[in-house]
Amino acid sequence: MSSDRTLVTVSAGLSVPSSTRLLADRLTEATVEALETAGHTVTVKAIELRGHAHAIVDAMLTGFPTGDLSAALDTLYAADGAIAVTPLFTTTYSGLFKSFVDILDKDALRGLPVLLGATGGTARHSLALDYSLRPLFTYLHADVLPMAVFAATDDWAGAGDQVNPLPARITRAGADLAARIAAREPATPADPFGSTPSFADLLARGGHSA
Protein backbone atom coordinates (compact mmCIF):
# COMPACT_ATOMS: atom_id res chain seq x y z
CA MET A 1 0.00 0.00 0.00
CA SER A 2 1.42 3.33 -0.94
CA SER A 3 0.18 6.53 0.57
CA ASP A 4 1.36 9.94 1.63
CA ARG A 5 2.21 10.30 5.28
CA THR A 6 3.31 13.36 7.18
CA LEU A 7 6.00 13.17 9.79
CA VAL A 8 6.46 16.15 12.11
CA THR A 9 9.53 16.68 14.25
CA VAL A 10 9.59 18.90 17.31
CA SER A 11 13.04 19.84 18.57
CA ALA A 12 13.68 22.04 21.56
CA GLY A 13 17.40 22.76 21.29
CA LEU A 14 18.38 26.27 22.27
CA SER A 15 21.59 26.79 20.33
CA VAL A 16 22.42 26.85 16.65
CA PRO A 17 23.65 24.41 15.59
CA SER A 18 22.04 22.14 18.10
CA SER A 19 22.79 18.52 18.94
CA THR A 20 19.08 18.16 19.78
CA ARG A 21 18.13 19.20 16.27
CA LEU A 22 20.84 16.88 14.94
CA LEU A 23 19.33 13.93 16.81
CA ALA A 24 15.86 14.89 15.56
CA ASP A 25 17.15 14.99 12.01
CA ARG A 26 18.87 11.62 12.32
CA LEU A 27 15.72 10.02 13.75
CA THR A 28 13.73 11.58 10.95
CA GLU A 29 16.04 10.20 8.28
CA ALA A 30 15.82 6.73 9.77
CA THR A 31 12.03 6.89 9.91
CA VAL A 32 11.67 8.22 6.38
CA GLU A 33 14.04 5.60 5.05
CA ALA A 34 12.09 2.80 6.66
CA LEU A 35 8.77 4.18 5.42
CA GLU A 36 10.06 4.61 1.88
CA THR A 37 11.49 1.09 1.91
CA ALA A 38 7.98 -0.05 2.79
CA GLY A 39 6.63 1.82 -0.23
CA HIS A 40 5.30 4.98 1.37
CA THR A 41 5.96 8.55 0.43
CA VAL A 42 6.65 10.87 3.31
CA THR A 43 6.42 14.59 3.86
CA VAL A 44 8.59 15.87 6.69
CA LYS A 45 7.90 19.08 8.57
CA ALA A 46 10.23 20.35 11.25
CA ILE A 47 9.15 22.53 14.16
CA GLU A 48 12.17 24.03 15.88
CA LEU A 49 10.85 25.55 19.08
CA ARG A 50 13.69 28.07 19.36
CA GLY A 51 12.10 30.08 16.54
CA HIS A 52 8.73 30.04 18.29
CA ALA A 53 10.00 30.76 21.79
CA HIS A 54 8.46 34.19 22.17
CA ALA A 55 5.19 33.14 20.56
CA ILE A 56 4.96 30.16 22.93
CA VAL A 57 5.16 32.42 25.97
CA ASP A 58 2.68 34.81 24.35
CA ALA A 59 0.28 31.90 23.85
CA MET A 60 0.63 30.95 27.50
CA LEU A 61 -0.31 34.49 28.49
CA THR A 62 -3.11 35.11 26.02
CA GLY A 63 -4.52 31.64 25.48
CA PHE A 64 -4.16 31.56 21.73
CA PRO A 65 -1.23 30.93 19.37
CA THR A 66 -0.35 33.52 16.79
CA GLY A 67 1.28 33.65 13.39
CA ASP A 68 3.84 30.96 12.53
CA LEU A 69 3.23 29.12 15.80
CA SER A 70 -0.42 28.69 14.90
CA ALA A 71 0.57 27.14 11.59
CA ALA A 72 3.13 24.91 13.33
CA LEU A 73 0.48 23.58 15.71
CA ASP A 74 -1.87 22.86 12.84
CA THR A 75 0.94 20.93 11.18
CA LEU A 76 1.50 18.83 14.28
CA TYR A 77 -2.23 18.22 14.76
CA ALA A 78 -2.50 16.89 11.21
CA ALA A 79 0.55 14.59 11.42
CA ASP A 80 0.66 10.81 10.96
CA GLY A 81 3.53 10.54 13.39
CA ALA A 82 5.83 12.75 15.42
CA ILE A 83 9.36 12.81 16.74
CA ALA A 84 9.87 14.94 19.85
CA VAL A 85 13.38 15.69 21.01
CA THR A 86 14.49 17.89 23.89
CA PRO A 87 17.71 18.65 25.68
CA LEU A 88 17.66 17.59 29.31
CA PHE A 89 18.09 20.41 31.81
CA THR A 90 18.23 19.88 35.57
CA THR A 91 17.00 16.28 35.39
CA THR A 92 14.17 16.80 32.93
CA TYR A 93 12.92 18.27 29.62
CA SER A 94 13.71 21.88 28.92
CA GLY A 95 11.29 24.58 30.00
CA LEU A 96 10.74 25.60 26.39
CA PHE A 97 9.77 22.05 25.51
CA LYS A 98 7.31 21.83 28.39
CA SER A 99 5.84 25.22 27.56
CA PHE A 100 5.18 24.03 24.04
CA VAL A 101 3.49 20.89 25.33
CA ASP A 102 1.44 23.06 27.70
CA ILE A 103 -0.14 25.05 24.88
CA LEU A 104 -1.13 21.95 22.89
CA ASP A 105 -4.79 21.14 22.63
CA LYS A 106 -5.16 18.41 25.24
CA ASP A 107 -6.75 15.98 22.80
CA ALA A 108 -4.69 16.79 19.73
CA LEU A 109 -2.06 14.06 20.19
CA ARG A 110 -4.53 11.32 21.12
CA GLY A 111 -3.38 8.11 19.41
CA LEU A 112 -0.56 9.79 17.54
CA PRO A 113 2.59 7.65 17.24
CA VAL A 114 5.36 9.60 18.96
CA LEU A 115 9.04 8.73 19.12
CA LEU A 116 10.85 10.42 21.99
CA GLY A 117 14.46 11.55 22.02
CA ALA A 118 16.68 13.54 24.34
CA THR A 119 20.19 14.87 24.51
CA GLY A 120 22.34 15.38 27.57
CA GLY A 121 25.87 15.69 28.81
CA THR A 122 26.38 12.17 30.10
CA ALA A 123 24.62 8.83 29.78
CA ARG A 124 23.65 9.03 33.43
CA HIS A 125 20.70 11.22 32.41
CA SER A 126 19.23 8.70 30.01
CA LEU A 127 16.39 7.54 32.24
CA ALA A 128 14.88 11.03 32.14
CA LEU A 129 13.22 9.90 28.93
CA ASP A 130 11.26 7.34 30.86
CA TYR A 131 10.50 9.15 34.08
CA SER A 132 9.65 12.55 32.67
CA LEU A 133 9.02 12.63 28.91
CA ARG A 134 7.10 9.39 28.67
CA PRO A 135 4.50 10.24 31.37
CA LEU A 136 3.95 13.62 29.71
CA PHE A 137 2.98 12.06 26.41
CA THR A 138 1.10 9.24 28.06
CA TYR A 139 -0.99 11.88 29.79
CA LEU A 140 -1.82 13.32 26.36
CA HIS A 141 -2.82 9.80 25.24
CA ALA A 142 -0.20 9.74 22.51
CA ASP A 143 0.86 6.34 21.20
CA VAL A 144 4.36 6.58 22.69
CA LEU A 145 6.82 4.11 21.22
CA PRO A 146 8.45 1.78 23.75
CA MET A 147 11.90 2.65 22.43
CA ALA A 148 13.25 6.16 22.98
CA VAL A 149 16.67 7.45 22.01
CA PHE A 150 19.02 9.27 24.34
CA ALA A 151 22.24 10.77 22.98
CA ALA A 152 24.97 11.85 25.36
CA THR A 153 27.95 13.89 24.29
CA ASP A 154 30.04 10.74 24.13
CA ASP A 155 27.55 9.09 21.78
CA TRP A 156 28.31 11.64 19.08
CA ALA A 157 31.99 10.64 19.34
CA GLY A 158 31.06 7.02 18.93
CA ALA A 159 32.51 6.24 22.34
CA GLY A 160 29.36 6.28 24.40
CA ASP A 161 27.91 2.86 23.98
CA GLN A 162 29.96 -0.01 22.58
CA VAL A 163 27.14 -2.54 22.88
CA ASN A 164 24.40 -0.63 21.07
CA PRO A 165 25.91 2.47 19.45
CA LEU A 166 23.84 5.55 18.65
CA PRO A 167 23.45 4.91 14.88
CA ALA A 168 22.06 1.46 15.58
CA ARG A 169 19.60 2.83 18.14
CA ILE A 170 18.52 5.53 15.73
CA THR A 171 17.94 3.05 12.93
CA ARG A 172 15.91 0.76 15.13
CA ALA A 173 13.81 3.55 16.63
CA GLY A 174 13.14 4.99 13.18
CA ALA A 175 12.05 1.58 11.94
CA ASP A 176 9.71 1.17 14.92
CA LEU A 177 8.08 4.56 14.31
CA ALA A 178 7.79 3.85 10.59
CA ALA A 179 6.04 0.55 11.29
CA ARG A 180 3.62 2.26 13.65
CA ILE A 181 2.83 5.00 11.13
CA ALA A 182 2.45 2.52 8.28
CA ALA A 183 -0.04 0.48 10.28
CA ARG A 184 -2.39 3.46 10.59
CA GLU A 185 -4.75 4.99 8.10
CA PRO A 186 -3.40 8.31 6.81
CA ALA A 187 -4.46 11.21 8.99
CA THR A 188 -7.45 13.15 7.76
CA PRO A 189 -7.96 16.83 8.44
CA ALA A 190 -9.60 17.18 11.82
CA ASP A 191 -13.14 18.53 12.02
CA PRO A 192 -13.08 20.79 15.09
CA PHE A 193 -16.80 20.24 15.61
CA GLY A 194 -16.90 16.59 14.61
CA SER A 195 -17.27 15.36 18.16
CA THR A 196 -19.77 17.97 19.33
CA PRO A 197 -22.79 16.18 20.77
CA SER A 198 -26.25 17.05 19.50
CA PHE A 199 -28.51 18.91 21.89
CA ALA A 200 -30.50 15.74 22.52
CA ASP A 201 -27.25 14.06 23.62
CA LEU A 202 -26.40 17.02 25.85
CA LEU A 203 -29.79 16.78 27.52
CA ALA A 204 -29.56 13.02 27.83
CA ARG A 205 -26.22 13.26 29.62
CA GLY A 206 -27.93 15.32 32.27
CA GLY A 207 -30.69 12.74 32.57
CA HIS A 208 -33.22 14.88 30.71
CA SER A 209 -35.15 14.19 27.54
CA ALA A 210 -35.58 16.56 24.62
Binding site: D58, L61, T62, T66, L202, G206
Partner: protein, 399 residues
Protein backbone atom coordinates in the same frame (compact mmCIF):
# COMPACT_ATOMS: atom_id res chain seq x y z
CA UNK B 1 -26.94 46.31 13.02
CA UNK B 2 -26.77 47.27 16.65
CA UNK B 3 -23.63 48.79 18.09
CA UNK B 4 -22.91 48.80 21.77
CA UNK B 5 -20.35 48.67 24.50
CA UNK B 6 -19.72 46.13 27.20
CA UNK B 7 -17.77 46.42 30.41
CA UNK B 8 -15.90 43.69 32.21
CA UNK B 9 -15.76 46.03 35.23
CA UNK B 10 -12.07 45.61 35.94
CA UNK B 11 -10.47 47.78 38.60
CA UNK B 12 -7.06 48.48 37.14
CA UNK B 13 -4.44 51.05 38.08
CA UNK B 14 -4.03 53.72 35.43
CA UNK B 15 -0.43 53.11 34.35
CA UNK B 16 -0.02 56.75 33.29
CA UNK B 17 -1.35 58.52 36.37
CA UNK B 18 -0.92 55.74 38.92
CA UNK B 19 -4.52 56.24 40.05
CA UNK B 20 -6.46 53.19 41.16
CA UNK B 21 -10.20 53.70 41.52
CA UNK B 22 -11.86 52.10 44.50
CA UNK B 23 -14.86 49.86 43.99
CA UNK B 24 -17.36 52.67 44.52
CA UNK B 25 -15.66 54.92 42.01
CA UNK B 26 -15.50 52.11 39.46
CA UNK B 27 -19.16 51.19 39.82
CA UNK B 28 -20.14 54.84 39.48
CA UNK B 29 -17.95 55.21 36.41
CA UNK B 30 -19.79 52.30 34.82
CA UNK B 31 -23.11 54.03 35.50
CA UNK B 32 -21.77 57.23 33.93
CA UNK B 33 -20.48 55.31 30.93
CA UNK B 34 -23.84 53.61 30.38
CA UNK B 35 -25.76 56.89 30.63
CA UNK B 36 -23.32 58.56 28.28
CA UNK B 37 -23.66 55.73 25.77
CA UNK B 38 -27.45 56.17 25.89
CA UNK B 39 -27.20 59.93 25.37
CA UNK B 40 -24.69 59.48 22.54
CA UNK B 41 -27.10 57.13 20.76
CA UNK B 42 -25.36 53.78 21.02
CA UNK B 43 -27.72 50.81 20.90
CA UNK B 44 -26.57 48.55 23.74
CA UNK B 45 -24.85 48.68 27.10
CA UNK B 46 -23.87 45.39 28.69
CA UNK B 47 -22.21 44.62 31.99
CA UNK B 48 -20.25 41.54 32.89
CA UNK B 49 -20.82 39.42 35.96
CA UNK B 50 -17.83 38.59 38.10
CA UNK B 51 -17.53 37.59 41.70
CA UNK B 52 -13.87 38.22 42.34
CA UNK B 53 -11.51 41.18 42.47
CA UNK B 54 -10.34 43.02 40.44
CA UNK B 55 -13.88 43.08 39.04
CA UNK B 56 -16.79 44.93 40.64
CA UNK B 57 -19.79 43.82 38.58
CA UNK B 58 -21.27 41.12 40.78
CA UNK B 59 -24.90 42.22 40.63
CA UNK B 60 -25.98 42.98 37.07
CA UNK B 61 -29.70 43.37 37.67
CA UNK B 62 -29.18 45.94 40.40
CA UNK B 63 -27.03 48.00 38.08
CA UNK B 64 -29.23 47.50 35.03
CA UNK B 65 -32.40 48.20 37.00
CA UNK B 66 -31.03 51.59 37.99
CA UNK B 67 -29.92 52.24 34.44
CA UNK B 68 -33.38 51.33 33.16
CA UNK B 69 -34.70 54.24 35.16
CA UNK B 70 -32.15 56.83 34.06
CA UNK B 71 -31.67 55.97 30.39
CA UNK B 72 -34.13 56.35 27.54
CA UNK B 73 -33.33 54.27 24.51
CA UNK B 74 -30.37 52.02 25.06
CA UNK B 75 -30.84 48.25 25.34
CA UNK B 76 -29.50 46.93 28.63
CA UNK B 77 -27.83 43.56 28.62
CA UNK B 78 -25.28 41.35 30.34
CA UNK B 79 -21.93 40.05 29.23
CA UNK B 80 -22.37 37.48 30.56
CA UNK B 81 -24.87 36.19 33.12
CA UNK B 82 -23.56 33.02 34.74
CA UNK B 83 -26.00 30.27 33.87
CA UNK B 84 -23.81 27.72 35.64
CA UNK B 85 -23.53 29.08 39.16
CA UNK B 86 -26.68 31.21 39.45
CA UNK B 87 -29.85 29.49 40.50
CA UNK B 88 -32.13 29.48 37.44
CA UNK B 89 -35.10 30.27 39.67
CA UNK B 90 -33.35 33.42 40.84
CA UNK B 91 -32.41 34.31 37.26
CA UNK B 92 -35.99 33.88 36.10
CA UNK B 93 -37.22 36.24 38.80
CA UNK B 94 -34.51 38.88 38.52
CA UNK B 95 -34.50 39.19 34.76
CA UNK B 96 -38.28 39.13 34.46
CA UNK B 97 -38.26 41.98 36.99
CA UNK B 98 -35.65 43.82 34.93
CA UNK B 99 -37.72 43.23 31.81
CA UNK B 100 -40.76 44.80 33.45
CA UNK B 101 -38.81 47.65 35.02
CA UNK B 102 -37.09 48.48 31.72
CA UNK B 103 -40.24 48.18 29.63
CA UNK B 104 -38.67 45.37 27.64
CA UNK B 105 -35.57 47.40 26.88
CA UNK B 106 -33.24 44.56 27.86
CA UNK B 107 -31.95 41.18 26.89
CA UNK B 108 -29.42 38.90 28.47
CA UNK B 109 -26.48 36.84 27.53
CA UNK B 110 -25.67 33.54 29.13
CA UNK B 111 -22.15 32.35 29.82
CA UNK B 112 -20.37 29.85 31.97
CA UNK B 113 -17.93 32.21 33.66
CA UNK B 114 -14.27 32.96 33.21
CA UNK B 115 -12.75 31.56 36.35
CA UNK B 116 -12.81 28.07 37.82
CA UNK B 117 -13.01 29.03 41.51
CA UNK B 118 -16.38 30.75 41.01
CA UNK B 119 -18.05 27.33 40.93
CA UNK B 120 -17.32 26.28 44.51
CA UNK B 121 -18.13 29.79 45.77
CA UNK B 122 -21.67 29.07 44.70
CA UNK B 123 -21.67 25.42 45.62
CA UNK B 124 -21.18 24.04 42.13
CA UNK B 125 -18.70 21.71 40.48
CA UNK B 126 -16.71 23.09 37.55
CA UNK B 127 -16.49 19.65 35.99
CA UNK B 128 -20.25 19.93 35.49
CA UNK B 129 -19.96 23.26 33.63
CA UNK B 130 -21.67 22.19 30.41
CA UNK B 131 -24.36 20.01 32.06
CA UNK B 132 -25.12 22.89 34.45
CA UNK B 133 -25.49 25.29 31.54
CA UNK B 134 -27.81 22.87 29.75
CA UNK B 135 -30.03 21.98 32.71
CA UNK B 136 -30.21 25.44 34.26
CA UNK B 137 -31.13 27.14 31.02
CA UNK B 138 -33.76 24.53 30.18
CA UNK B 139 -35.36 25.23 33.56
CA UNK B 140 -35.07 29.01 33.16
CA UNK B 141 -37.01 28.83 29.90
CA UNK B 142 -39.74 26.76 31.47
CA UNK B 143 -40.06 29.20 34.37
CA UNK B 144 -40.61 32.02 31.90
CA UNK B 145 -42.94 30.22 29.52
CA UNK B 146 -44.99 28.05 31.90
CA UNK B 147 -46.98 29.63 34.71
CA UNK B 148 -46.77 26.63 36.99
CA UNK B 149 -43.74 24.39 36.88
CA UNK B 150 -43.16 20.92 38.27
CA UNK B 151 -39.56 20.10 37.79
CA UNK B 152 -36.84 17.74 38.86
CA UNK B 153 -33.18 17.80 37.84
CA UNK B 154 -29.68 16.98 38.92
CA UNK B 155 -28.40 20.30 40.17
CA UNK B 156 -31.05 21.91 42.35
CA UNK B 157 -33.95 20.97 44.56
CA UNK B 158 -37.11 19.90 42.75
CA UNK B 159 -39.95 22.35 42.16
CA UNK B 160 -43.56 21.50 42.86
CA UNK B 161 -46.20 23.80 41.45
CA UNK B 162 -43.78 26.71 41.41
CA UNK B 163 -44.64 30.00 39.74
CA UNK B 164 -41.88 32.49 39.06
CA UNK B 165 -42.97 36.10 39.37
CA UNK B 166 -43.25 38.61 37.93
CA UNK B 167 -44.35 36.92 34.76
CA UNK B 168 -42.43 38.09 31.69
CA UNK B 169 -43.57 41.39 30.21
CA UNK B 170 -46.52 40.89 27.85
CA UNK B 171 -46.08 37.16 28.37
CA UNK B 172 -42.92 37.09 26.26
CA UNK B 173 -39.58 36.25 27.91
CA UNK B 174 -36.47 38.35 27.31
CA UNK B 175 -34.39 37.62 24.24
CA UNK B 176 -31.41 35.48 25.19
CA UNK B 177 -27.93 35.28 23.73
CA UNK B 178 -25.48 32.53 24.45
CA UNK B 179 -21.89 33.64 24.70
CA UNK B 180 -19.11 31.20 24.05
CA UNK B 181 -15.55 31.42 22.89
CA UNK B 182 -14.43 27.83 22.69
CA UNK B 183 -17.32 25.48 23.44
CA UNK B 184 -19.28 24.23 20.44
CA UNK B 185 -21.77 22.74 22.90
CA UNK B 186 -22.93 26.26 23.71
CA UNK B 187 -23.26 27.15 20.02
CA UNK B 188 -25.33 23.97 19.74
CA UNK B 189 -27.50 25.08 22.66
CA UNK B 190 -28.10 28.51 21.13
CA UNK B 191 -28.98 26.92 17.81
CA UNK B 192 -31.33 24.39 19.39
CA UNK B 193 -33.43 27.10 20.99
CA UNK B 194 -33.13 29.55 18.12
CA UNK B 195 -31.51 32.04 20.50
CA UNK B 196 -28.75 34.48 19.64
CA UNK B 197 -25.09 33.49 19.64
CA UNK B 198 -22.40 35.94 20.64
CA UNK B 199 -18.79 35.10 20.01
CA UNK B 200 -16.66 37.30 22.21
CA UNK B 201 -13.71 37.15 19.90
CA UNK B 202 -11.63 39.90 21.49
CA UNK B 203 -8.69 37.62 22.16
CA UNK B 204 -9.09 35.35 19.18
CA UNK B 205 -8.09 35.27 15.53
CA UNK B 206 -10.94 35.73 13.08
CA UNK B 207 -10.45 32.23 11.65
CA UNK B 208 -11.57 30.73 14.96
CA UNK B 209 -14.54 33.09 15.27
CA UNK B 210 -15.61 32.17 11.77
CA UNK B 211 -15.55 28.45 12.59
CA UNK B 212 -17.69 28.89 15.68
CA UNK B 213 -20.22 31.20 14.02
CA UNK B 214 -20.49 28.97 10.97
CA UNK B 215 -21.17 25.98 13.20
CA UNK B 216 -23.90 27.86 15.06
CA UNK B 217 -25.49 28.98 11.79
CA UNK B 218 -25.53 25.43 10.39
CA UNK B 219 -27.12 24.07 13.54
CA UNK B 220 -29.67 26.93 13.69
CA UNK B 221 -30.83 25.87 10.24
CA UNK B 222 -30.71 22.19 11.23
CA UNK B 223 -33.15 22.85 14.08
CA UNK B 224 -35.58 24.58 11.76
CA UNK B 225 -35.42 28.16 12.99
CA UNK B 226 -34.68 29.54 9.54
CA UNK B 227 -31.83 29.63 7.10
CA UNK B 228 -28.26 29.72 8.37
CA UNK B 229 -27.88 33.31 7.25
CA UNK B 230 -30.94 34.31 9.32
CA UNK B 231 -29.42 33.22 12.62
CA UNK B 232 -28.84 35.99 15.19
CA UNK B 233 -25.12 36.59 15.64
CA UNK B 234 -23.12 39.04 17.71
CA UNK B 235 -19.40 39.68 17.91
CA UNK B 236 -17.17 41.27 20.50
CA UNK B 237 -14.55 43.85 19.70
CA UNK B 238 -12.21 46.35 21.23
CA UNK B 239 -10.93 49.63 19.93
CA UNK B 240 -9.03 52.68 20.97
CA UNK B 241 -9.52 55.64 18.69
CA UNK B 242 -8.09 59.09 18.15
CA UNK B 243 -8.38 61.38 15.15
CA UNK B 244 -4.83 60.52 14.14
CA UNK B 245 -3.79 56.91 14.37
CA UNK B 246 -0.32 57.79 15.71
CA UNK B 247 -1.96 59.58 18.64
CA UNK B 248 -4.13 56.55 19.36
CA UNK B 249 -1.15 54.22 19.33
CA UNK B 250 0.96 56.45 21.54
CA UNK B 251 -1.82 57.07 24.05
CA UNK B 252 -3.03 53.48 24.31
CA UNK B 253 0.34 51.71 24.40
CA UNK B 254 1.03 52.09 28.15
CA UNK B 255 -2.47 50.79 28.88
CA UNK B 256 -1.93 47.83 26.57
CA UNK B 257 1.53 47.05 27.90
CA UNK B 258 0.39 46.99 31.53
CA UNK B 259 -3.08 45.52 31.16
CA UNK B 260 -3.58 42.36 33.23
CA UNK B 261 -5.38 40.66 30.39
CA UNK B 262 -2.79 41.06 27.67
CA UNK B 263 0.14 43.04 29.01
CA UNK B 264 3.62 41.53 29.00
CA UNK B 265 2.66 39.14 26.21
CA UNK B 266 2.54 39.82 22.49
CA UNK B 267 3.36 43.33 21.36
CA UNK B 268 0.45 45.67 20.66
CA UNK B 269 1.32 45.37 16.97
CA UNK B 270 1.13 41.55 17.09
CA UNK B 271 -2.05 41.64 19.11
CA UNK B 272 -3.81 44.09 16.84
CA UNK B 273 -2.82 42.05 13.81
CA UNK B 274 -4.13 38.76 15.22
CA UNK B 275 -7.26 39.89 17.09
CA UNK B 276 -10.05 42.45 16.59
CA UNK B 277 -8.27 45.00 18.82
CA UNK B 278 -7.90 48.07 16.64
CA UNK B 279 -5.89 51.05 17.79
CA UNK B 280 -6.01 53.90 15.34
CA UNK B 281 -8.18 56.40 13.53
CA UNK B 282 -11.96 56.16 13.11
CA UNK B 283 -11.41 55.18 9.49
CA UNK B 284 -9.18 52.26 10.53
CA UNK B 285 -11.93 50.97 12.82
CA UNK B 286 -14.50 51.38 10.08
CA UNK B 287 -12.32 49.50 7.59
CA UNK B 288 -11.49 46.68 9.98
CA UNK B 289 -14.94 46.11 11.45
CA UNK B 290 -16.68 46.70 8.14
CA UNK B 291 -14.86 43.65 6.80
CA UNK B 292 -15.78 41.13 9.51
CA UNK B 293 -19.15 40.61 7.86
CA UNK B 294 -17.32 39.28 4.81
CA UNK B 295 -15.96 36.44 6.95
CA UNK B 296 -18.78 35.53 9.34
CA UNK B 297 -21.80 36.69 7.33
CA UNK B 298 -24.18 39.53 8.20
CA UNK B 299 -24.52 39.78 11.94
CA UNK B 300 -26.85 41.77 14.15
CA UNK B 301 -24.82 43.12 17.04
CA UNK B 302 -21.31 44.48 17.41
CA UNK B 303 -20.10 45.12 20.95
CA UNK B 304 -16.98 47.06 21.88
CA UNK B 305 -14.90 46.86 25.03
CA UNK B 306 -13.59 50.36 25.70
CA UNK B 307 -13.52 50.95 29.47
CA UNK B 308 -10.77 48.68 30.69
CA UNK B 309 -7.07 48.54 31.51
CA UNK B 310 -7.23 51.58 33.77
CA UNK B 311 -8.31 54.05 31.10
CA UNK B 312 -9.60 57.21 32.79
CA UNK B 313 -13.34 57.86 32.71
CA UNK B 314 -12.89 61.05 30.68
CA UNK B 315 -11.06 59.10 27.99
CA UNK B 316 -13.75 56.41 27.93
CA UNK B 317 -16.47 59.03 27.46
CA UNK B 318 -14.48 60.53 24.59
CA UNK B 319 -14.25 57.08 23.04
CA UNK B 320 -18.03 56.75 23.23
CA UNK B 321 -18.44 60.08 21.45
CA UNK B 322 -16.03 59.11 18.69
CA UNK B 323 -17.78 55.76 18.30
CA UNK B 324 -21.22 57.31 18.16
CA UNK B 325 -20.37 60.32 16.00
CA UNK B 326 -17.68 59.17 13.64
CA UNK B 327 -17.67 55.39 13.49
CA UNK B 328 -21.09 53.83 14.01
CA UNK B 329 -23.07 55.74 11.35
CA UNK B 330 -20.55 54.97 8.63
CA UNK B 331 -19.92 51.43 9.80
CA UNK B 332 -23.66 50.77 9.95
CA UNK B 333 -24.07 52.00 6.38
CA UNK B 334 -21.24 49.79 5.12
CA UNK B 335 -22.26 46.66 6.99
CA UNK B 336 -26.00 46.92 6.37
CA UNK B 337 -25.31 47.30 2.64
CA UNK B 338 -23.80 43.82 2.81
CA UNK B 339 -26.94 42.21 4.22
CA UNK B 340 -27.56 39.32 1.84
CA UNK B 341 -31.37 39.46 1.76
CA UNK B 342 -34.28 41.45 3.17
CA UNK B 343 -35.40 38.48 5.26
CA UNK B 344 -32.06 38.37 7.07
CA UNK B 345 -32.78 40.18 10.34
CA UNK B 346 -31.35 43.68 10.38
CA UNK B 347 -31.15 43.76 14.18
CA UNK B 348 -31.74 41.34 17.01
CA UNK B 349 -35.47 41.08 17.72
CA UNK B 350 -36.94 43.81 19.93
CA UNK B 351 -39.46 43.05 22.61
CA UNK B 352 -42.24 44.51 20.44
CA UNK B 353 -41.26 42.26 17.55
CA UNK B 354 -41.18 39.22 19.79
CA UNK B 355 -44.63 40.05 21.11
CA UNK B 356 -45.92 40.39 17.56
CA UNK B 357 -44.31 37.08 16.59
CA UNK B 358 -45.82 35.35 19.60
CA UNK B 359 -49.24 36.81 18.76
CA UNK B 360 -49.00 35.43 15.23
CA UNK B 361 -47.91 32.06 16.52
CA UNK B 362 -50.62 32.03 19.19
CA UNK B 363 -47.97 31.20 21.77
CA UNK B 364 -48.29 34.18 24.04
CA UNK B 365 -47.90 33.33 27.70
CA UNK B 366 -49.72 35.00 30.55
CA UNK B 367 -48.29 38.33 31.57
CA UNK B 368 -49.93 38.13 34.97
CA UNK B 369 -50.71 35.42 37.41
CA UNK B 370 -53.65 36.72 39.36
CA UNK B 371 -55.13 35.29 42.49
CA UNK B 372 -58.00 33.71 40.65
CA UNK B 373 -56.18 31.75 38.06
CA UNK B 374 -56.13 28.00 38.04
CA UNK B 375 -52.80 27.18 39.58
CA UNK B 376 -52.82 23.60 38.43
CA UNK B 377 -53.05 24.19 34.74
CA UNK B 378 -51.68 27.68 34.68
CA UNK B 379 -54.63 28.98 32.64
CA UNK B 380 -55.82 32.45 33.39
CA UNK B 381 -59.27 32.63 34.86
CA UNK B 382 -59.76 36.37 34.89
CA UNK B 383 -61.40 38.30 32.12
CA UNK B 384 -59.59 39.10 28.96
CA UNK B 385 -57.48 37.16 26.56
CA UNK B 386 -53.75 37.75 27.01
CA UNK B 387 -53.47 37.96 23.25
CA UNK B 388 -55.38 41.21 23.35
CA UNK B 389 -52.82 42.86 25.56
CA UNK B 390 -51.22 45.96 24.16
CA UNK B 391 -47.48 45.43 23.91
CA UNK B 392 -45.76 47.77 26.31
CA UNK B 393 -42.50 47.49 24.46
CA UNK B 394 -40.28 50.50 24.32
CA UNK B 395 -42.44 52.39 26.78
CA UNK B 396 -39.90 53.72 29.20
CA UNK B 397 -40.80 53.20 32.77
CA UNK B 398 -41.00 56.27 34.95
CA UNK B 399 -40.00 58.77 32.30
Amino acid sequence: MQFGIFSVSDVTTDPVTGHTPDDTERVRSMLTIARHADEAGLDVFATGEHHNPPFVASSPTTMLGYLAGVTRNITLSTATTLITTNDPVRLAEEYAMLQVVSGGRMDLMMGRGNTGPVYPWFGKDIRQGIPLAIENYALLRRLWTEDVVDWQGKFRTPLQGFTSTPRPLDGVPPFVWHGSIRSPEIAEQAAYYGDGFLHNNIFWPLSHTKQMVTYYRQRFEHYGHGRADQAIVGLGGQVFVRKNSQDAVAEFRPYFDDAPVYGHGPSMEDFTRETPLTVGSPQQVIDRYGAFVDEVGYYQRQMFLIDHAGLPLKTVLEQIDILADEIVPELRRIVEAKRPADDVPLNPPTHAERVATALRAGSLGAAHVGGTEDRWTGLRAEEGDPRNLEPTAGRPFGL
